[in-house]
Amino acid sequence: MELEDLKTIWQDRPDTSRRQQSDRQQSGRQQTSRQIRALLRKKSRGLVAKMKRNLFGELILVLMIYIPAILFYLFEYREKDPATGWALLLLLLYFTGYYYRKKKLLNAMQRPDAAIRANLERQLLTLRKYIRSYTTTGTILVPVMAVLSFMSGRGMITGPDRWAEIGIAALVLASITFLSWRANVWGMNRLYGRHIKKLKGLLEEMDEEPHTLN
């Protein structure tokens, strides 16, 4: 069977079922318009749309945790520990910048009106940046939070054995940071690894040189 011979059959064939066709004949354009309007009201189930929804959820969670904590440290607890309040405020500002960057990256990923090759390339590049941003922030956050918690709970390390204590604390911190980095890399790979592999595969297939195809 030659592909050429199938062109006419392909172009002639209606691509909706007989039931769908008869529905359309009965109620005409209005029915289809209603169906399309209903589709437009639905949420996208694409990967980027899901990532955007998750990001928004994360932002809400961070705001719900940080704002009461900041208010508490800055107003209720200001006599004893004002530094923690300011530190948390700085962290919140950092988070806001981080979410803004991620949102921008996700917006950049959604350009399906570009040529397919360009779109796949952009998706791969942006997804890699997104993952890097997530992994770096997730990793840095662990030692920062640990130091902050330690300072607000115990204050500075003093006393005769302070260097030994600092050494142990640094070692623990480094181990936790390493574990956090590994966990972040594993998590990102589990979430987006398959998609990255698919995008890379498609681009490789597109870039195959003609002489290697025969």
Partner: protein
Amino acid sequence: MQEALHQPEFIDLVHEHQALLHKVCNLYCSSLQDRQDLFQEIVIQLWRSYPRFRGESKFSTWLYRIALNTAISDLRRQTRRPRSMELQNIPAELQDIQYEKEKELRLQQLYTAIEQLSELEKALVMLYLEEKSYDEMEEILGINQNNLRVKMNRIKEKLRNLTKQTEHGTGRP
């Protein structure tokens, strides 16, 4: 406000080109649920991109880009089950259409063979069957014409072999 202004015009355009959208869905999805999901996703992406359509390319080129981009880069259908030549696995539309028996069988064989192609090859077959010129294919896919012609020849050969196998009842290679 702007959305309300453009919606009727957009709906008319989708209505006019919906056969094309269904063809993309049939090509990339084997189950009815997947086809409906993909159709919905394509319509949403078209609507989101519609304000950026400036008429620099033909409307059909723009539409193909969005439909194929959505179909190709969507993760969900990686878990789809393979389509076999058995009647229950052939798209409902195909079973439903009163086509001449021979034509219907050939289309069924074509769909079964296409199922075994890569996502990029499916896009090429679709554009070829829709009689798009190599210029337009280049504009939609972003691959140079020399490369496209070689790929197309290879796909034709592949489909010839695949359909030969289904004609002889050997099914999947």
